[in-house]
Every structure is written in structure tokens, then in C-alpha cells.
Symmetry: D2
């Protein structure tokens, strides 16, 4: 997903304030689901929604305004009722921030946990993590 840094996202250090990265990744998550033909409309049809339960984020550098960046999203794993996704924010080929995020699948009406629906599992395809597992984890 191409990302254009917005002016107000940069702070007094002239770099993107760290809180915005989760927003970028969230936007990339939805764009990624749509690219898999399983966007929010389809999810609602199937009766599933997702809730974020865990995120690990590493900053190696900083996005700046007015950077044109790319946000990459890639599947790490599909569990019984969870989906793990890797993200990277890249500027000119250099990863500035990476994240691994775990979502749980929930009923889209009452938000109780439900298994990943089969059509969603099919759409998500095969894992291709962006981050290597670290030793001891």
C-alpha cells in the first residue's frame, strides 16, 4: 500500500510520531484484505470481524513529512480463531518500522470469539512472514 505521510503526523522532532504507525498498519490491513477479495463488506456478509489483541513494533528509523512510503502486509499464520500479520513501513527500499500483529476473529454482532471462517482461511492463503522469528521466542 502506498502511503503519503500527512503533515500533522510529524512531531516536533520532525519525524512521524510513533503513535501513527499503528494507524498506517491498520489501513494496510484493510487494503490487504481487499486485495485478497475479502474486504470488510465480505467479512460482514460472512458474519466475522477482527479484534487486535497483540502487536509488537520495532522502529529502525523514522518516516518524515513529506515522505512517500510503502506499507507492506503479509500473512504469518492462521490459527483456530486468530490471524497473525507482519507489517513493514518502507521508504526508498529501507524498512523504517516493522510490526507483528495478532488479531482474533469474532462474531461481527456480539464480538464473541469464533473460528476463522473457511472462506476467509482460503482467501488468506499461505504464510509469508516479513520478520524472521527471533531466537528464543
Amino acid at each position: 500500500m502506498p502511503l503519503r505521510v500527512r503533515y500533522y503526523e510529524a512531531d516536533q522532532q520532525a519525524v512521524v510520531y510513533h503513535g501513527w504507525y499503528l494507524n498506517y498498519f491498520d489501513e494496510a490491513f484493510m487494503a490487504w484484505l481487499e486485495s485478497l477479495d475479502f474486504g470488510y463488506g465480505t467479512m460482514a456478509d460472512v458474519g466475522v470481524d477482527v479484534m487486535l489483541v497483540h502487536s509488537e513494533i520495532d522502529w529502525h528509523g523514522s518516516l518524515r513529512w513529506p515522505n512517500d512510503a510503502e506499507i507492506a502486509a503479509s500473512l504469518v499464520a492462521v490459527g483456530k480463531s486468530s490471524i497473525t500479520v507482519d507489517y513493514a513501513a518502507v521508504v526508498d527500499g529501507t524498512p523504517m518500522c516493522s510490526a507483528r500483529t495478532v488479531y482474533v476473529t469474532v462474531d461481527h454482532k456480539d464480538f464473541t470469539r469464533i473460528p476463522v471462517p473457511e472462506p476467509m482461511r482460503d482467501a488468506l492463503g499461505h504464510p509469508a512472514p516479513l520478520r524472521r522469528q527471533r531466537a528464543g521466542r
Copy 2:
């Protein structure tokens, strides 16, 4: 309402980015309604909600991080189905930003326009504008 400027609200010019002021005023609006014993809980009980339809904002200076500021809110007028409120963001007695905002009252379920309910009209009390009307307006 006392306001503590948050770090991420300041931009690269080291002043609060202008987009945050509407958020400050929104927060002050709710604090003000609560101070009148007509907070969001009461509004829901009465079946009324508000929608912002117009806002005029003037910046005379800038809030900075880590300013402790005050946000003032005061009634300008109650119409048939509208409420006009003045706001000011003040630092050390100096107004940095002022605004006049018009809300319309709507049914809290279907968002159709409804008259200002009598108990709300009573709670709002008498007008005490912060901004003087400008000539020719």
C-alpha cells in the same frame, strides 16, 4: 475546562497543529454540558443528540507543548432546533484561539432534526457570548 497539550499535538513548527482545536472544543462542549447537569447520559435519556453544522475559528496565537491551557465554553443562542456555543482556548490569560459553533439537535436514534427539548433548553440557561458580533454580520 483545563487542558494539557499532548506532545503529539504539536507539529514541526513546534505549535499545536490547527486540526486539534476542534477536538479540544468538542471535549469542552461535553464537559460544559456535564457541568450543566445535562451530559450525554441525560441527553440519551431525553432522546436527543447533537450534530455540528457550522464552525468559525480564529487563531490569534498558538498553543505549544507542554502548555497548560484553559478551554472556555459559553452559550450564544438557543434556536428552535439549534444551539450556538462560543469557545476560547486561553493560555495564561491570553486567548490563542476562539470559535463559534452551531449544533443542530437531532433524534438520537435516527438523526432527524428535532426541536431542542425543553429540559435541555432550561439547562442551557442564558446566553453569554465570548465573541462580540462583528460589524456587518
Copy 3:
């Protein structure tokens, strides 16, 4: 400027929270200046920056997630040391929000007010307001 509403910009009423519109218009302002070949890089070269001093916003409807909207920006007037710009947020041809915003031109180092530089004046071109003047204003 095409705009894709981000998920977190919608509030509990399922419409875009009003505070985000100023951000959309700010982004459109910069995109518009770039389209005139007078983007922030050029402004810095010429030694000019802008500060927002006044904004009037009218909401006629609401953007929703995941709307694809358009933000229009158009010149209203260039004063001695000020620039007035009209904005409109449009979904499927329907204007949902419009604004008129006044910027003052300042020295990009010390933020003191300076006249609109001639090259900027030339780049801005001729006024084409989106909003009609209202009677009595």
C-alpha cells in the same frame, strides 16, 4: 485530491468525526500548492511559510468509512499578506462539507508576517471561489 476515509476517522455515530475535516483540507492545501508548482520545497526556497488564521466550516452531510471522497481546493483571494482558499469534501458528486480558510504569509524562519512573494502570487493564479458570498457578509 482523492481521499480515502480511514477507519479510525469514523466515530460512534459511524460518520467521520468533524475534527478530521481540517486535516483533510490541510492535506488538500499542500496537494493543491504542489499542483501549482509551488509546493513546500519551493516555499522554503523563497523563504515563505503560511499560518492559518481563520476557517469557516459548514457541514451539509457526513463522510463515512469506507468512502472514497474528493477534496476540492480553489483560490478565493490573494491579499497583501494573506491567501484565502475554499475547500469542499465531495462524495459521489454531493458536497458534504465546505470551508473557507484564510492563511497569512510569514517568514519561514521567524514566523513574522511578510507580503505574499511575487512568484507565489503568480503561481496562485486567478480566484475561482467554490462558495458564493452570503448576503450580508
Copy 4:
């Protein structure tokens, strides 16, 4: 640090959008440093600033509007040039979100990495993690 959830921080699911938590923790970090008499003013005097390099966040529940929450911050470790801090967002005694965040200390002018200054190390005091180390980590 007491926290009052702001209206615009809640999303269409009527819970606080996950991206805001990093902002809450950032605000708590600064309030915590000030409570240790080592706020941003003192940091600037000593010539040190911090940059966030890693954050792990777990959501166990959700803040909602208009919750009154508490944000707890507590020291985990002080390394040669890093500081690790635990956070928890608590509503009515129930932790809804917890995080462990690693900052590196940098020169406040050129942002190169520097050791944690002795006065800062003294001010930070003794570790008191909020999160227990998980097995295998």
C-alpha cells in the same frame, strides 16, 4: 495518571481505537518522568532525549467513551543506553491493555545514541515491572 477518554477516540465498534493507546502511554511516560523530577525540561538541560525503538502491546479488553481510566507506568530496566518501561491502562481496577516499551537515550540535538546520564539513572530508581516475564521469552 488519570485519563479521560475523548469522544473521538472511540470508533464504530464503540471502543477506543487501538492506535490511541500508544498516545496514552506516551502521555503517561512524560507524566511519570515529571513525577520523578526528571521531566522534559530537565532532560533538555542534561542534553538527553529519548526515542522509542520497541513496543509490545497486549489488549485484554477495551476502553470506552466516556471511561475514566488510569494509566500506570513503571520502570522495568535501565540499560547502558536504553530504558524499558511497562504500562497498563486500567478501568475500575481491570487492566484493559498493557505494554512494554523500550526507549534509547539520544543526544537531544543530533539524536545520536548516548548512555543514560547518571542523574537520569538516579531519578529513574529501581525496577518494578508491571508485566511478568513470560516463559520462553
